[in-house]
Symmetry: C2
Subunit: 299 residues, 2 copies
């Protein structure tokens, strides 16, 4: 069994690194246009879990990459994630007023500023990777950007969100649900893992294949766990065995497979994820622990 | 005097090239998620003037770059432009229902799809430049992406739009107005010119400086001409000497300088633009003609 204390140390180390790096990369709130920069900082430095940067660092660790060579990639995936949350929360999308216990970006800064903050964060993600950086070769940075742009575009994250918006009230089967999540949240999670592997010099293409498979599985695990948590926390706090009524129209793993079926699926996907790391030895232990963490997380 | 026929030929050549290239780069409308891809194609292949790709090709011409080496950059700037128009038209921003005589993206496909189409087009712009491309060196592509990301982010285009949103009903002076436009439309116009120069191998840093100065001036000229056209077309068609009433609260060059003052400013900026091309000889003729075209355009 992996040692959970060791992952906690890694999580806290990553958090400090990424918060410092993001703070440096984001324009100061005093730099004009001030409101836009405030909104960008508000939504990026919002005390998130920084799961995607953690994945970059852990995948890098599995490929013997020093942490300093991973900072740009870790920032880029978090900036893409932050932009996607701002846009997903908009009235025309999920219409959420709260995120992590605070008003969402458009509630705090208005809708126009929230749209622009998201747009500017996406540009900044690519800027971070494109900008002169001595620790990565030009070829490495290009492959990272190629991977990240694909994962966040219409065939990845943005496409998954489009499928999600169109699936409300419709019946999806498990394959369609998996396709939606593989794009919506899975693509960026997988890209985070791949970026860690792409920071190795030279890149080991065989290892990259394994990381890609691992990333696909834990992306899926992340979503299944989300759906299970939705039901279990609703059951605990509201005493009813389903997610919130508003979500009834949204297909989930638990609504399609039942709670037990979803747990079973989660175990399968977890096993498959670990299988992809076969032969990578103890240096992939952080990745194994991250998988455990995703499968077992309580919030 | 530059020969206008020759620029017309160049414009039509560029249009064919860029339309073919965009058609190839944009996912087919039949590729899932279909509605998202339809919306992306609807707004990108909308019969625009393709001014930014034209600038890439003309600047490349001034640096002896073959057209084939400029296609990726030309696509990238047009994709960024198309995304910005979709987002600018949204109800929370300029709330426009028509563009180029057709319903805007959110009218045709709904607001959620329009937000996502814009997001995905931005990702695609970077994907085009990051993706394997034999005609440019990795270093060239990185510099192009660095330039493009900066120009479209919070210190460029998105920042300019934020300043614009906040300036409605406020009094700006000419410097503030210039700062807003330099970012909002100027940054991407300048970047288009720079990308043409960055496709040269090796890049001539002195020429790049000149192109940057030229790009800044014609970006400004573009906006001043816009403001003048607004007044002149309103005067012609409505018989009143000001732009549409809705715009009365928006500062413009004509509202700050008067119609004659705006014409004067346009002439100054045009002269300055041409001055930046001194010493570049006849191969910069297309750029000179483009400046003429921008200053003289009637729509």
């Amino acid at each position: 069994m992996p040692n959970p204390e060791s992952l906690d140390t890694m999580i806290s180390l990553c958090r400090h690194r990424i918060e410092a790096a993001l703070d440096q990369i984001l324009p100061a709130a005093a730099t004009p246009p001030e409101t836009l920069h405030e909104a960008m900082r508000y939504s990026t430095l919002a005390g998130g879990k920084y799961v995607r940067p953690l994945l970059v660092y852990c995948a890098g660790q599995a490929c013997d990459v020093p942490m300093a060579r991973l900072d740009a990639a870790a920032c880029a995936v978090e900036l893409i994630h932050a932009y996607s949350l701002i846009h997903d929360d908009l009235p025309a999308m999920d219409d959420d007023a709260l995120r992590r216990g605070r008003p969402t970006c458009h509630i705090a800064y208005g809708e126009a500023m929230a749209i622009l903050a998201g747009d500017a964060l996406q540009a900044l993600a690519f800027h971070v990777l494109a900008h002169e950086n001595d620790s990565l070769t030009p070829h490495q940075r290009l492959r990272m950007m190629d991977t990240l742009a694909y994962a966040s575009g219409s065939l990845g994250m943005a496409g998954g969100q489009a499928i999600d918006m169109q699936s409300i009230g419709r019946t999806l089967d498990v394959d369609e649900l998996e396709n939606m999540h593989t794009r919506k949240t899975g693509a960026l999670i997988q890209a985070s893992i791949l970026l860690g592997g792409l920071a190795a010099d030279p890149v080991d293409e065989q290892v990259l294949q394994q990381l890609g498979g691992f990333g696909r599985c834990i992306g899926l695990a992340f979503q299944i766990r989300d759906d299970i948590l939705d039901v279990e926390s609703a059951t605990e706090t509201l005493g009813k065995p389903q997610g919130s009524d508003e979500d009834m129209n949204k297909p989930t793993y638990t609504s399609l497979l039942g709670l037990e079926g979803a747990h079973e699926k989660l175990r399968e996907v977890h096993d498959k994820a670990l299988h992809y790391l076969d032969g990578m030895g103890p240096k992939a232990d952080y990745l194994r622990q991250v998988a455990e963490y995703i499968v077992g997380r309580k919030y």
